[in-house]
Symmetry: none
DNA sequence: CAAAATACGTAACATACGATACAGCGCTCC
DNA sequence: GGAGCGCTGTATCGTATGTTACGTATTTTG
């Protein structure tokens, strides 16, 4: 079975005329980047004319050049997004690694943090630590526990931390307490909940700064969010995994704590005394 | 020093207007592929207009969109050519790693699963899937969200799943419903809560099978537990990490789901139909 | 060796793409 | 509360790009 364009080329390169073969070889040599550039650049790199390139992609079975490029991009996307399948060769059973679930989860975390700069985390932590206003947290059907988890920790080290629980109508009543100085932390992954989106929109209209934890496809709430954390959620299971978001949440909790300690927050010192 | 566009964005995202920030977040979320597509596609994905995308790349310092795309391609080329240096973010200065928090968490997970045999997980999953009795879940101050998370999932695929919330006196009243056929899942890490220990003991006396999620030093509840999952919790932070336990929980959820599907549970089939 | 078929490049064409001008809007700051 | 500024989207324009037609070169075959 042929799963990549590279294989497809290898399969048919024998039946190609000279010019197209040069195109094929050029593409393989720096796969797949040349294929993402323009026809003119591709043809120049291969030392042939533009039409030859087009005939080449046509011979591979594509209707036009765009379709060919889209395929390459999809392939690249699949590679970049799932590090586990990055290598063409099976990824070294290395100890026969027990759980594919665990492997996927670890990859998700690495990927999530790869797309998350230290600076971004520091910014969010600073915003949460800066105690001008209140902090609200809320989550969706399966992610609300993450909101609770974060709220439980933050509430220990600073005042005015509220987890929004219960019915939609209950949160809506809290909107009236929210303003520009406040922060709303929302967890929302597929399938995105309309109620949350509506709530986020209203909060946004009131000037509340939103920190969104979502998946890589971005909840529509991203539209209103000041900060977006996009975590990987794909695992070999019937469910999506929130583990990567969980780890980001823990990291943030740690950063906020550190920040407050550095600020010499009296609350922290008092707390130590109480232990 | 700034070596990748991703870093450049992270550096300047704070100083961007809302629309451009959405562009930035969209790009980071599926880096760098969206940036290789057309302006129209990029803008659609970000939910903004084309000019906003162009202003975004201009703000990053590029003369035009092509120059921006070329940079992305060069970056990608460098990345693809040397598979060893795959990471886009500063590739972990050998030990000093960007996020020691992440490294510690990943280690914790590997360690946790190393001490956790497949058979043990399978046994617990089987016990949870075998639907003779009820399933109760409860957690401590910071771990209760984990219990909620697990309950939220299990409740979807099987009946008689209850999360025990609220005051201690409230759970105690539920003891009367518990018997030999039932399972109680408890999350308890340092500092172990007396209330939970007392509750576990009483449940144990009633013949309830206890599945305990705890840390490597083992909560006193381990004494009464049928199954013990000991997760690593140490991280460079003021708090302990529950991430490893979280991943075990997700793994179990997946395993139970699979088991029930295999059993051909009618509920699962009906659920699919409802989607 | 001749004639036909295939391959390839040049040049003209049409489309879709990036770029720009402009107007409406919201926000901040007096 | 009003004036100014900055941000964003709509509509338009010019152009770079993919595409096609056609003529020449090259190879193949009888």
């Amino acid at each position: 079975m042929i799963s990549s364009i590279a294989e497809l080329i290898a399969d048919r390169i024998g039946a190609m005329p000279a010019g197209e073969r040069r195109a094929a070889q050029t593409l393989i040599a720096s796969y797949p980047l040349i294929g993402l550039k323009t026809v003119a650049e591709f043809s120049a790199a291969a030392g042939v004319s533009s039409p030859t390139i087009l005939r080449f992609v046509a011979r591979l079975g594509f209707q036009n050049y765009s379709e060919f490029q889209s395929s390459l991009q999809d392939e690249l996307a699949a590679q970049l997004q799932s590090p586990a399948i990055r290598t063409l060769n099976p990824p070294a059973p290395a100890g026969g690694s027990a759980s594919p679930m665990l492997e996927a989860t670890l990859d998700n975390m690495r990927e999530t943090f790869r797309h998350l700069s230290d600076k971004q985390l520091a910014d969010i932590a600073a915003r949460l630590a800066e105690r001008r206003g209140k902090t609200f947290l809320i989550g969706g059907r399966f992610t609300d526990p993450l909101a609770r988890y974060m709220a439980a920790h933050l509430a220990v080290i600073q005042p005015d931390v509220f987890h929004l629980a219960g019915q939609e109508s209950m949160w809506r009543d809290r909107l009236i307490d929210m303003g520009k100085r406040d922060v709303l932390v929302i967890f929302d992954i597929r399938r995105y909940q309309d109620s949350l989106v509506r709530f986020a929109e209203k909060a946004h209209q009131r000037g509340v700064q939103i920190v969104l934890f979502t998946d890589q496809w971005l909840s529509p709430i991203a539209r209103f969010a000041r900060h977006v954390i996009a975590g990987r959620t794909a695992v070999p299971s019937a469910w999506d995994s929130s583990a990567a978001l969980f780890v980001v949440a823990e990291t943030l909790i740690g950063a906020v704590t550190l920040q407050l300690e550095a600020d010499g927050a009296r609350r922290i010192r008092e707390m130590e005394g109480l232990r």
